[in-house]
């Protein structure tokens, strides 16, 4: 078989694996939520509801169907982009998710941008100062940064910047219709709280990635061509060191979204994380299923893409195949 043929076979296998994992995740999710105690109809109708009223509502929501039918209806809908209607909110789940993403996505993006802007220069500086006091200090700070819980950072930021200085709102989100400025200002503290521990991790990765490339041949060649150590590092080292950094960054996207669940609750932001909380508290199982599958799907797909990208890029792997 040719190298290209084997490569496409490998890719096909990876993609098939991806689909199998996604389906398995959806089944696991459905089963777990199915045994969850708590009757959505009872939650919606409250303590005075009579049994016939509850039964009528369950029929209306399709909860009287057998599990297999409900699973197929749900997953079939999701496959064609129909996420169903929320039990409690009575609006299409897709629009509910879209509204909440309008908070969570900017939050995650701001956190990623912020952590990259902090971590990459700091990591490179530490590598350049390898073994000296500056390096030691940066590494120590990074250690502390990894150890600090992000919700505590959130609380401290509120204490300092909203209660103390009154610069930013302590929580809540005015909505984008209140103006981009007001919206962003509500997201600044949460994104900082989210970004700092991420920055610490990223700085460590950057530092070791740079240190690793410094030992490689082309840096030595560059230096032989008359570049100073620092020039060689910035011109050649950085670009190569960025590959692992970008990978980590990609893998951190779902982590950030998960971290947003906690932070959105600290800051009372109406994002995806808050939606999960509300949906669980109200047994809005359809919302819960959709959001959880969305998040899990994101992780599975990102991981799969990283895998596939490695298969395509990794020269050693190609050589072996050829």
């Amino acid at each position: 078989m040719t190298g290209a043929g084997r490569l496409s076979l490998l890719l096909a296998r990876r993609i098939a694996m991806l689909v199998v994992t996604l389906v398995a995740a959806s089944i696991a999710l459905f089963l777990v939520l199915d045994i969850l105690p708590g009757d959505p109809a009872l939650v919606m109708l409250g303590t005075e509801a009579r049994p016939d009223t509850l039964a009528a509502l369950r029929r209306e929501m399709g909860l009287d169907q057998p599990a297999l039918v409900r699973y197929v209806t749900w997953i079939g809908g999701v496959a064609v982009g129909d996420f169903g209607i929320s039990y409690t909110w009575r609006v299409p789940v897709a629009s509910l998710i879209a509204e909440r993403l309008a908070v969570t996505v900017p939050l995650a993006v701001m956190a990623i941008v912020l952590s990259t802007l902090i971590a990459v220069p700091v990591g490179v500086i530490a590598a350049a100062a390898h073994g000296r006091t500056l390096d030691w200090m940066i590494v120590s700070f990074a250690q502390v940064g990894v150890a600090v819980p992000n919700f505590w950072i959130g609380i401290l930021l509120v204490l300092g910047f909203s209660i103390g200085l009154g610069w930013f709102p302590a929580g809540g989100f005015p909505g984008w219709q209140a103006g981009v400025g007001a919206g962003l200002s509500a997201l600044i503290l949460p994104s900082v709280a989210l970004a700092l521990p991420q920055a610490a991790i990223l700085a460590r990765v950057t530092r070791s990635a740079v240190l690793e490339v410094v030992g490689e041949d082309y840096i030595r060649t560059a230096r032989a061509k008359g570049l100073t150590a620092r020039q060689a590092l910035w011109r050649h080292g950085l670009r190569n060191a960025l590959i692992p950094v970008v990978t980590i960054l990609g893998l951190q996207v779902p982590v950030l979204i998960a971290g947003a669940i906690l932070i959105e609750n600290v800051f009372a932001l109406p994002g995806l994380g808050r939606l999960i909380f509300q949906a669980l508290g109200q047994r809005d199982l359809i919302v819960l299923k959709d959001v959880a599958l969305l998040l899990a799907g994101l992780v599975i797909i990102v991981n799969g893409l990283v895998d596939i990208a490695y298969t395509l890029i990794d020269p050693r792997l190609k050589d072996r195949l050829a």
Partner: protein, 496 residues
């Protein structure tokens, strides 16, 4: 990337400089804060109190309504006559009333609304309100005659609930998203997770006396953010503020009016009366003596709540003060427990999510420990509480506020979750109440019921859930108490 950050920083700083612009509203607009967001806006299709807190008296109207003192007043029914046997109610409807979409309101709308609520496939959360109805006749467009199965003294009161508001056949299907009522305010828009906006209905009969043109209901669940929004002027009024501990700060601030009133929420430490040793009245009394209500109110509610001694709201004229029946006395509690032969009692205390329950629970567990009762706290989410405690009565103790108005009759139900053993006697009193037309006589009967529950120490009656209202000092007309879940803004105006 740097440019993006610069843009973010600049935008952020700009936002910091602006917030006062948001606060300076035209004075015919009210921004009213609420803790919980309504899942949708149809009060006849869901139990969530937040639905009523937006729509009651503002957007939807019923045949009758409750005023700020909890008294029944005419609303869409202008007047009514009751037959001497108390079985037939003849309502004369207001003429010329139209729904917000132009549909005329008449006796057919009343018949439709009530029959929909009573129908087999009805999803009305308070279906029992309509249970006494035998038939509904509409002799002419402005007259409705309702015949009851048995005399029901509370019928007009029941019709005033948010679950009995009038709707048109053409809009019931969409009332959850775009509610169409007959009220003085129309639905304008909704931003899920954030706000619902109502605007004045110029065609309403009272339009001339309504001062507000626009009402924005904003939903802020985080206690810290509620306080901040009031301080910043982003919200003009929080009729039911979450954090009781913030009250002192607002009292010291002349920009705000603080009004602490009562809700209809009797907060109780419910005991499973069908489970030993709570079957023994001495044990229940011992627990009542073991709890220092003052300390619970201080610790859990920052001193804002009123203690109660039975399952009845101090708002009501029939209220009897029974708070001194079981004074805090750990020694007496231990003595009663010993007398009942109970030693080393271990129970679980199951707590639903609201802060009042979780905080009271922690304090009460500590107090019970003082008299030798080990109460293990189990925090549960609301769906689980409903399923285990409320539906299956699978619990020892729990803490919950019963927020339905005038709900002492729950003690007459044999299968109600706390399983009151003497339910038949209480039910007899309640039946007597429904048969009694005279208000003074009814109030005496309610007094008997309260004393019965107190003597039997069914549950430990802790405190009336307060309504902590904080609003701009220039606002007037907001309700101080809440005889039912509502934010009636029809009488609200800005003072100059």
């Amino acid at each position: 990337m740097k440019r993006v950050l610069a843009a973010v920083v600049v935008a952020g700083l700009a936002a910091v400089a602006w917030p006062s612009a948001v606060g300076a509203q035209a004075r015919d607009q009210l921004v009213l804060g609420m803790q919980l967001e309504p899942p949708h806006l149809d009060p006849t299709a869901g139990a969530a109190g937040a639905i009523r807190e937006v729509t009651y008296a503002n957007l939807f109207e019923g045949l009758t309504r409750l005023d700020r003192r909890g008294q029944v007043q005419p609303q869409l029914a202008e007047r009514w006559t009751i037959s001497p046997d108390g079985l037939s109610y003849r309502f004369s409807l207001r003429a010329g009333v139209r729904f917000h979409d132009g549909t005329p309101f008449d006796s057919a709308s009343v018949k439709f609304t009530l029959e929909r609520a009573m129908a087999p496939d009805s999803t009305n959360a308070q279906k029992q309100l309509f249970e006494p109805i035998a038939s509904i006749e509409t002799p002419d467009p402005l007259t409705v005659v309702i015949t009851l199965k048995r005399p029901t003294a509370s019928f007009l009161y029941n019709l005033a609930w948010g679950d009995a508001v009038m709707m048109a056949p053409g809009s019931v299907a969409t009332n959850r998203e775009r509610p169409i009522g007959t009220g003085p305010f129309r639905f304008d828009s909704r931003t899920p997770g954030d706000r619902v906006v109502l605007v004045k209905n110029p065609d309403h009969r009272d339009a001339a006396t309504i001062a507000l043109n626009r009402v924005v209901f904003r939903f802020i669940s985080d206690p810290q953010a509620q306080v901040a929004a009031l301080r910043a002027g982003d919200v003009d009024a929080f009729p039911n503020l979450g954090p009781a501990e913030a009250v002192d700060g607002f009292r010291r601030d002349a920009r705000f009016t603080v009004a602490i009133g009562n809700t209809e929420g009797e907060t109780i430490l419910a005991l499973n009366n069908s489970k030993a040793p709570f079957t023994d009245v001495r044990v229940r009394r011992a627990i009542a003596h073991a709890i220092d209500k003052g300390a619970v109110i201080d610790g859990a509610m920052s001193g804002t709540a009123k203690p109660i001694g039975s399952h009845f709201s101090p708002n009501h004229p029939a209220y009897v003060d029974l708070t001194s029946r079981y004074p805090y006395n750990p020694a007496e509690a231990r003595r009663l427990l010993a007398e009942a032969g109970v030693r080393d009692l271990r129970v679980t205390l199951r707590l639903p999510p609201p802060a009042y329950a979780r905080r009271s629970g922690e304090i009460i567990a500590a107090m019970l420990a003082d008299v030798g009762i080990t109460a293990t706290i189990e925090a549960v989410e609301f769906p689980r509480w409903l399923e285990t405690v409320f539906r299956n009565a699978d619990f020892d103790m729990t803490i919950i506020a019963h927020t339905e108005p005038m709900d002492i009759n729950i003690y007459g139900r044999p299968t109600y979750y706390f399983r009151y053993q003497n339910h038949a006697r209480l039910q007899a009193i309640m039946d007597e109440v429904e048969r009694t037309g005279d208000e003074a006589a009814r109030n005496r009967l309610y007094g008997d019921a309260q004393r019965l529950l107190s003597e039997d120490a069914v549950n430990v009656f802790l405190f009336q859930l307060p309504k902590i209202g904080v609003w701009n000092a220039r606002l007037e007309g907001l309700w101080e108490n809440s005889p039912l879940q509502a934010n009636d803004v029809t009488g609200v105006r800005w003072r100059n």
